[in-house]
């Protein structure tokens, strides 16, 4: 057998050493009735057959290397340099466990420390953890954390928060008697916040790509004794104001754009950062710098008394396994890009998006719904059902936008379509899309 090295002779030798006559004796505690029921699994494939089978399945999918892709909404077709994958695929990174034995894990620990720093630099926040599952669940944890800090139970949510984030938030707050309020305005300047709100959640750019001005919001939130939570797109921070600059309290990002492939939705990387004063309420792992017995610099996991394996039911979260390897990718990506590269990605995305929106806006029957400035996504009202447009586009090798007809995030607009461009979107692809629309 390919992954079980012991030969039959060795198995027998070991059973003898154990002092049992047969392997059956090792199942003595198991009720006989439940042993070896019928289990239907496909017949095994050898490695070459397996590769052929999996390749066939993979090639039944229309991937973004062969199709123009205009989908965004939380998963983005950004470019990941080859060097990033080569680093992720170092097996000392991907076949290690959580660095609980620091003497054997200085590689991962230093990388986490660097990741935490990079996320802090990017967001302008004080501290960041070693990663969460994804933006949605990280946001859920943030809301619970805000309630526990403020000892309040009302969560105010911006109307143009990603609908899946809203859904995850609801599930997370499910058992805690937390009230989930979808605020209907955009936290206008004049608006007063009631005194019993635990936190306010904004997304920037929002679900339909808009960049809103939230100057002054933090002050009003803090005055009300509440916590301000922002969901950001890390790529946008190559250009746009950071959560720290907005005096946000908890900044949540989806790290997927940072060198992680779209991979049909996962694994991604939840980015969680907050202010220094909230560090002990924070969920997730943290690496810290310290010294060894001889005074040599080293890294360890720290502040573990927040975590489930120490604090059990009193932990700040139940998270254990996180998205460590995806954080390796993000670390490598941000390192590779640097400030200039990240800015370039953001600018190219911003320009491409407007190359497309400018042309679509001119098509009869199309109306841009997102208010300028929008970043790399925009909602557009279409004269034909988006699902029908997507069907036609697919035949032209184009994965169209997301059908958001009737979504509350566009105030229920019928025939609403969310399109996205990144630095990888080419003029040819955009021109082709526009020409298909023009013909439709």
């Amino acid at each position: 057998m390919v992954y079980t090295p012991n030969t039959e002779a060795q198995r027998q030798e070991m059973l003898a050493a154990i002092g049992v006559g047969s392997i059956n004796d090792l199942y003595n505690d198991v009720p006989a009735a439940v042993i070896d029921p019928q289990i239907d699994l496909p017949a095994p494939l050898s490695e070459p057959e397996l590769m052929a089978h999996m390749r066939q399945l993979a090639e039944r999918n229309s991937d973004a290397l062969h199709y123009a892709n205009f989908l965004g909404a939380g998963s983005y077709n950004h470019y990941s340099p080859s060097a990033v994958y080569r680093i992720m695929s170092r097996s000392e990174f991907y076949t290690a466990y959580t660095p609980y034995q620091p003497e054997l894990s200085q590689g991962t620990l230093q990388q986490i420390y660097e990741f935490q720093t990079l996320i802090c630099e990017l967001t302008g926040m004080d501290v960041a953890n070693a990663s969460m599952y994804d933006a949605g669940s990280a946001l859920g944890e943030a809301a619970v954390m805000a309630c526990s800090i403020t000892k309040r139970n009302k969560v105010w949510v911006s109307p143009r928060l990603h609908p899946e984030h809203k859904a995850v938030l609801k599930t997370f707050t499910n058992g805690h008697g937390i009230e989930f309020i979808e605020h209907d305005a955009h936290f206008s300047e004049s608006e007063q916040l009631p005194a019993d709100v635990a936190c306010v959640i904004i997304q920037l750019p929002n679900f339909i790509g808009e960049i809103r001005d939230f100057t002054g919001l933090a002050e009003r939130v803090h005055e009300a004794g509440a916590i301000l939570i922002e969901v950001y797109d890390p790529i946008s921070l190559g250009l746009l104001k950071s959560p720290g600059e907005l005096d946000v309290d908890i900044a949540i990002g989806e790290g997927q754009g940072l060198g992680i492939p779209m991979s049909f939705g996962g694994p991604y990387c939840g980015l969680f950062a907050t202010k220094e004063k909230y560090v002990r309420q924070m969920p997730g792992r943290l690496a810290g710098m310290t010294k060894d017995k001889d005074g040599k610099r080293g890294f360890v996991l720290t502040l573990q008394t927040r975590e489930q394996h120490i604090r059990r039911e009193k932990a700040t979260s139940n998270i254990c396994t996180n998205e460590a390897l995806m954080a390796v990718a993000a670390t490598a990506y941000l390192t590779c890009m640097g400030p200039q590269g990240l800015k370039r990605v953001a600018e190219l995305s911003y320009q491409n998006t407007h190359f497309l929106s400018n042309r679509i806006a001119k098509l009869p029957g199309y109306k841009i719904l997102s208010r300028e400035p929008f970043f790399k996504e925009f909602a557009v009202q279409t004269p034909i059902a988006p699902s029908e447009l997507n069907r036609r586009l697919l035949a032209h090798g184009i994965i169209g936008g997301l059908d958001i007809s009737g979504f509350p995030e566009v105030d229920g607009a019928p025939n609403a379509w969310l399109l996205c461009c990144t630095e990888l979107t080419t003029k040819e692809q955009m021109t082709k899309l526009v020409s298909v629309l023009a013909e439709a």
């Binding site: 050493a17 680093i87 996962g266 810290g288 009193k314 139940n318």
Partner: protein, 482 residues
Amino acid sequence: MSTEPLIFDLSSPGRVGFSLPEVDMDEAPALDARYLRGELDLPEVSEIDMTRHFTRLSQKNYSIDTGFYPLGSCTMKYNPKVHEDVAIMPGFAHIHPYQPEESVQGALQVQYGLQNMLTQIAGMDAVSLQPAAGAQGEFTGILMIRAYHKARGDHNRDIILVPDSAHGTNPATAAAAGFKMMSLKSGADGNVDLAALEASLSDRVAGIMLTVPSTLGLFEPNILKISELVHKAGGLMYGDGANLNALVGHIRTGDLGFDVMHINLHKTFTTPHGGGGPGSGPVACKAILAEFLPGPVVVKDGDTYTFRQPSQSIGRVKNFWGNFGMHVRAYTYISHLGLRGLKRVSEDAIINANYIRAKLKDVYNLPYDRVCMHEVILSGKNIKAETGCTTMDIAKRIIDYGMHPPTVYFPLIVPEALMIEPTETESKETLDQFIDAMRKIAQEAHDDPELLHSAPHITEVSRLDEVGAAREPNLRWKRAAS
């Protein structure tokens, strides 16, 4: 091996490591200053700096690919290379979660296939692949239990029972889901104390979380009785499937009376641990709970695969459809081994653990002197009493023998615990090396305890000041004021 500078110390202003097109259009409105960020202080390095830095860092890690890694409860088995090649196929790595279903039939077929495989292996009726890891699977299952009782108008059940041997995520999950966690003391034999269980059951109990086999590496002989009692009291049985590697192919959790469970694909189905993640924690359940699963799940309609939302779904626990990259690997693994191969997996996992047990029990305390499943729990308490060397000392000394220590100080109910899970991918020769090292260390503890206290001796850093790290946390680099 020398100290590696921080990436920030390798930065040089103006240096670039990226290769991207120039911005050659001016289509977008200029952004007002109030939208724009200030300085962005990321490192500026070239590709060679970055490659060297992370290559050298990687070499500072111990990993499955460099040696034996018998971490109890973690199932550190070999991660087949073919899985990595499959996962990066463009048709899997570069598809968007919102693509029209007709354009991702291959991906849906993988998910559908995996759902079915897990249903079969677990002896359950339905599966959701959405949870990102074991703990999120637990959270999902416990919310499903809540939803089930609610749907039946049974609003009183606010307690989840959890044995004191349980993994930390179990009590933490119960709390995160808004339940009161009631701890259940284990018997002296490591089994659930049936009397204590009966005393704890009531109409306030929503369910019990049990790990099978238990975190003590033991199969609960009264499991059928326990599920009978729990069900009679109106509670449901939650199975922590982290230890499925002991059962796979031979015993189905569903047949033991469990109603819902999670499965760690990153353990039994060998998706790489990645230095702490990603994982994947699909939830499997009986028919009575199927409509509460988080959605969507994949169903087959004629020849077409399509998403379906369960009618009473607890909602989403995560964006999109779960950690698809891990689904691909697990599907590949099961397709490769088939039932015969999976049976061999659990058999050899059990033989390997018992072999270690048999070969070390005369030297280390064996708190539960019975046949174990895929892992064996030893205790260093005898050695501590005799020599002053703690389990931590033993663990650190193992490093000097070129191996990774087992899990230590867990389960909490075993003092000075050493939790050893060799997995089936290790050969007898490797186990013999480990056994040999463990026996030598026990002797060293008597002959030269300082050797253990001061271990490890061969690593780049010696024992680190964890107390200091927590007292004055240094969690990020900061540019020195210039």
